[in-house]
Symmetry: D2
Subunit: 227 residues, 4 copies
């Protein structure tokens, strides 16, 4: 696999554990067509056990793993092996998602393992402070989602987006900044891109839409306008 660089503006479709099997493949198939038609970088995840199928079937998607363990070949049992992710065609790994939060040392070790294997990294931070710290690790993409806003004054969403983007770019302008909290419509997508996000990603806004494929397409069309 060539190590293509991810190009902004990009889109991340993360169905988490909401979809599997045919329902997942139908959504992936539509995303694959859109990625090809508009020459757009779409990162697509799914259950860890179906990434091999997604990678084999949908060559225009950037298959993304929801997790990776920083283990090497050996006697570990039931872990997400980095070498195996690479083998099956995964290109990007999500690290430190709030649902699989790591200690800082583990984040460092996992990013290092991914880089050694030529896997791109999408690292999550849930505060501005953590975002700044993680920026120092030079991930390919940094997702700054405010699980808990820090500091005295509650920032507005817009300010949070502007501030995280500015601070991350200050550390390293090559890091792509993903935003994502609370996207429900194509208007939310456009707004985040207008505020400076390099990419947007979401789960509920698509999987819980009346028509997920249609909603996904509307959002993709907004992203295409920013190319």
């Amino acid at each position: 696999m060539s190590e293509r660089k991810i190009r902004a503006p990009f889109f991340v479709v993360n169905p988490k554990s909401f979809l599997y099997g045919e329902e997942l493949y139908a959504l992936a198939s539509h995303a694959d067509k859109l990625a090809k038609e508009y020459d757009l970088d779409i990162l697509f995840t799914g259950p860890l056990t179906e990434l091999a199928i997604l990678a084999a079937r949908f060559p225009n998607l950037i298959i993304t793993s929801q997790h990776m363990d920083s283990v090497g070949l050996g006697d570990s049992m039931g872990r997400i092996l980095p070498e195996s992710l690479k083998e099956i065609g995964v290109e990007v790994v999500v690290i430190n998602h709030a649902d699989r939060a790591l200690t800082f040392s583990q984040v460092i070790a996992t990013v290092k393992r991914a880089k050694e294997l030529g896997l791109k990294t999408l690292v999550c931070a849930d505060s501005i402070l953590e975002a700044k710290a993680i920026a120092e690790l030079e991930p390919d993409i940094l997702l700054a989602e405010p699980t808990e806003l820090i500091g005295q004054a509650q920032m507005t969403s817009d300010e949070y987006v502007l501030e995280t983007t500015r601070l991350i770019k200050e550390v390293n302008p090559n890091i792509l900044v993903e935003q994502g909290a609370g996207i429900r419509t194509e208007d939310d997508v456009r707004k985040l891109l207008e505020l400076g996000a390099d990419g947007v990603g979401l789960t509920s806004g698509i999987v819980k839409a009346d028509n997920p494929q249609e909603m996904m397409e509307k959002m993709v069309m907004e992203i295409v306008k920013f190319k």
Copy 2:
């Protein structure tokens, strides 16, 4: 997939995280031929992310997952989704391995989820007491590996095998008892079967052998004699 019952004597090839990609498939391919030729039940594991490939390529193997999370469809991230395991053709799930030990409540919940989906369960216990407790959950297979022997007097291996088998069958004679600690040669396999094991399973004895395929075949031949 028909829910075939696992038949004793059975064999478990568990490469843990030692093998992936072509090396894994070569071993699986040989196991698949042996399973077919001798009409033997061989459970075969591999990295979670390659189970879909194993299941698609090797129809004579009973593809087995090294782990499963007791989650349902929803917003969990980076977990091993039971529905996805079923979807890709996994038939058996390992639960409570020492490297992914669970609380007793979690073991109960995970066994329950597996049964709901028609997945067979291979539950690990690392003491005689835990083996007896887990037997009450009626797993399909119970692997009793003494991580730490309990009680004052250190039992010999033979006594441990006889005792665990007897106690588990006492609770429920339908549970298949797997033994596995320290198997290095075909003689070890034969001995465990002579002591009453319904099946044997191993990792190092195969993956660290000079010729893994040859060693696996020798072990299989011993199992075939017990049919």
Copy 3:
């Protein structure tokens, strides 16, 4: 400290992390007087860091730790050291509470460490199956609280109490059975004792009462009637 055996009917006052400092000592002081006046065994807990104070001030209470780590002397950091619990006068340790659930192997190891040091064990189970399994470890007290009721038919509270008590006593009649779910008044206390509980324990029913000391005394008076 003499290793006095706990006598039924006993009472467990577990303020969890609701109380500390003077408010905790006031409640403990009243419990201490009641324990002395009625020659009753009252187990009393509090924040781990205040057990030394409780043990020094209230000699008529059986000071009980909410947790213990199965570590030995050495370089562990920030753990609850068994030797230290014994040193400061703790007599009983709670093991495997739902908020600090352990794997079965850890439960076994922790019970073993407690017994080596002459600490009594109060082990929690959150299902009938787990209760039976833990009964085999011969704890001094077994608290069977149904975090999740198992099996098809939902049992009534009464049936659950009768059934757990019967099954635990079947394994070992010397184990004291504590019941506790949902106690709000002295009537609840009486009812559980009538159903066969050796002891009752609670948190909210006391700490959230309008007058905790008064409520505690009313409950104690019910227990005294069963002596």
Copy 4:
């Protein structure tokens, strides 16, 4: 308790779980005398369950907790309650020690809780990157211990000490930098102070010395020279 500011050069005696009871109090008693005689800030830890005793007996020591949970008053069970630490006279809490490593979000939450209660924070980092990130949280003391050195070239100890100190002070010159890896003699203590450490802390070098009290005193004498 007055919230005295910790003064450099300071000393941290951390017996981890090696000592308890009389042996611990004898060492603390000697440290207490030295702290008073030389008007030196000595932070002293011990098993969590004996901090109340240490605080009551040794007024010249700055009693330090090896851990704290970021819980509030409520139904948590077996946790280290911040309010209770404050109550019993603890002045400093160690956060994020390698043996109780936290996610970055947890570090942030725990530092915040400590500051709310007027507890000083001694936060551990095990890499230069983590040290820089944690410096942004403005802990009172930052212990930069390289569990794993990062980057290609292995730095020498001296370079590591100089570099961490420089980088931390760059973020905030008010943070006190503690160094500690591998101290065995009073010469090691002097060297670290010469390299710019604000304080030094250790475990093995004292508890495993032939005469712990004597070794501790020798080290203290070196620190006194830097006042």
